[in-house]
């Protein structure tokens, strides 16, 4: 065909090389649906980007108009409530999926050599995702948005040495102001998406280069082939997950539509300030231990989290071969759940 020849001459990709390059052999254990926990946040991120771009058509990042613009989207624009609902629920589900994915990776030891850098990029991706959630929620400029941002700003400023500068950088000043909302907006739609994109490219490249780590359960029979084709089998599974997720998101939006709390009132803090659920553990930890200690321990925890592959190695050496990561991980995770539940119940 002349059209095809025209195309091939101008886009000189070797078809067979492309095919084999893309058609990554997938380990059989990925046939299990719950092994697709990496693809889930990826798809949800796509949903976030699409719905987020649509929302940006109507959102106004100025304190005087932000809340009203969100109200207009929710109540006046055609399908606005649905787009906003998708965005809201997708952010919650994405964070939940990322956390589950981290747990899966952690408890299967998939961060170990030679995949340490995959882990590190993943850790930073988690931080970016959490930051996404924080900035995004602050943009609504409800009471909880405003006061949550105030608390976060104060927390940041409480970090020893660099705190005040960081806090000022985050807030665009000493207190929440017009600058703050603009910064959060720039972070949320510009800086963080770029960071996320770069990190995900690196992360996925590592995954692709190393291959998805394979595990064999003791009771598993020996299989004829240890891999199955990406196309069309695994792709179809990923598409299926995507469809299922969007279906679930739409149902969630229909059942629990996005709401609007009271508009931000800088003069009156509400009786109960609460961050989003994924920050409950930080909030409760802060209440139990006090500002400086909490900041220091959270910082330490974050550092250990990023550096875990090496910590794990050191632990293995110290304990002479015992796998302490799993019980330690269980302990920490249970602790985080407890903190979250206590804060939720309060």
């Amino acid at each position: 065909m002349r059209a095809l020849a025209w195309f091939r001459e101008r886009v000189p990709i070797d078809a067979s090389a492309l095919r084999s390059g893309l058609n990554e052999p997938i380990p059989l254990h990925l046939r299990r649906w719950w092994w697709a926990l990496g693809g889930t946040p990826a798809y949800l991120f796509l949903v976030q980007v699409v719905t987020g771009i649509l929302l940006t058509f109507y959102y106004v990042p100025n304190p005087d108009h932000a809340y009203a613009s969100v109200r207009a989207i929710t109540e006046e624009v055609a399908f606005g409530w649905w787009i906003r609902g998708l965005h809201r629920w997708s952010s919650n589900l994405m964070i939940a999926a990322v956390i589950l994915h981290v747990m899966r990776v952690f408890f299967t030891g998939a961060y170990r050599r030679p995949r340490e850098l995959t882990w590190v990029t993943g850790a930073f991706l988690l931080f970016v995702v959490l930051f996404f959630g924080f900035t995004g929620y602050s943009l609504v400029y409800e009471q909880l948005s405003y006061w949550g941002a105030t608390v976060a700003g104060n927390l940041t400023a409480a970090v020893p040495l660099v705190g005040p500068a960081l806090g000022s950088l985050l807030r665009g000043g000493e207190t929440i102001s017009d600058n703050t909302l603009t910064r959060f907006f720039v972070l949320h739609i510009g800086i963080l998406p770029t960071l996320f994109f770069l990190l995900i490219v690196v992360h996925l490249s590592f995954v692709r280069l190393h291959g998805v780590s394979d595990i064999v359960f003791r009771d598993e029979a020996d299989r004829r082939e240890r891999t199955f084709p990406f196309f069309p089998d695994h792709l179809l599974m990923e598409i299926g997950i995507g469809v299922a997720l969007t279906f679930v998101l739409t149902c969630l939006t229909l059942i629990v539509p996005p709401a609007l709390g009271e508009p931000a009132d800088p003069l009156h803090a509400p009786a109960h300030i609460k961050p989003e659920w994924y920050f409950y553990f930080t909030f409760r930890w802060l209440k139990w231990t006090g500002l400086t200690f909490a900041v220091l321990t959270l910082g330490l925890g974050a550092f250990l989290f990023v550096a875990w592959p090496w910590v794990d190695r050191a632990l293995a050496r110290l304990s002479r071969g015992r796998d302490l990561s799993v019980p330690l991980g269980v302990l920490v995770f249970v602790g985080l759940i407890v903190l979250t539940l206590v804060e939720a119940a309060a």
Partner: protein
């Protein structure tokens, strides 16, 4: 049907069945995501509702014959009020040509647009310059009275 069994069936039948399955799947996916995309596109079109309302501008006694009054409309446009033979005349001061602000020249009894020298009669009809060539006029607002209060009728998109 397993993959091995499938290869034993007639290739044309197997191909057609496989193709039909793919086609059905494709149609279902396209239908679903297509609808979602249509909603997204609809979302981008902001069809406002039109709201009609009245706003007070002045009392009749403020608008003696020969006098004119400028009042700011809620959307920021200036409205020029004059007393014409048939009643109160409320004209927008926005030139219909390209949107510049039109001035009332009492010495010449006309409206003048400084951008491209548009000229308008006291009743707002263009008689010179580009607006006249296009047969335009200054937008006229409906007014009404309640007692001796003069109200402007606005149509706003909300």
């Amino acid at each position: 049907m397993t993959e091995t069994e499938r290869s034993r069936v007639e290739p044309s039948v197997a191909d057609r069945r496989g193709f039909l399955r793919w086609a059905f799947l494709g149609v279902a996916l396209v239908a679903a995501y297509g609808t979602a995309a249509a909603y997204g596109v609809r979302f981008l079109f902001r069809k406002g509702r039109v709201r009609r309302r009245k706003v007070f501008v002045c009392m009749e006694k403020d608008l003696a014959p020969g006098r004119s009054l400028v009042r700011r409309a809620p959307d920021g446009r200036d409205i020029l009020l004059t007393r014409a033979d048939e009643g109160v005349l409320a004209l927008s001061n926005v030139c219909p040509h390209l949107g510049c602000t039109v001035r009332w020249e009492p010495q010449n009894s006309r409206f003048f647009c400084p951008c491209h020298a548009g000229i308008f009669r006291p009743d707002g009809v263009a008689i010179g310059g580009p607006p006249a060539k296009a047969g335009q006029r200054l937008e006229r607002f409906e007014t009404s009275t309640s007692g001796s209060a003069i109200y402007l009728h606005l149509e706003e998109e909300v």
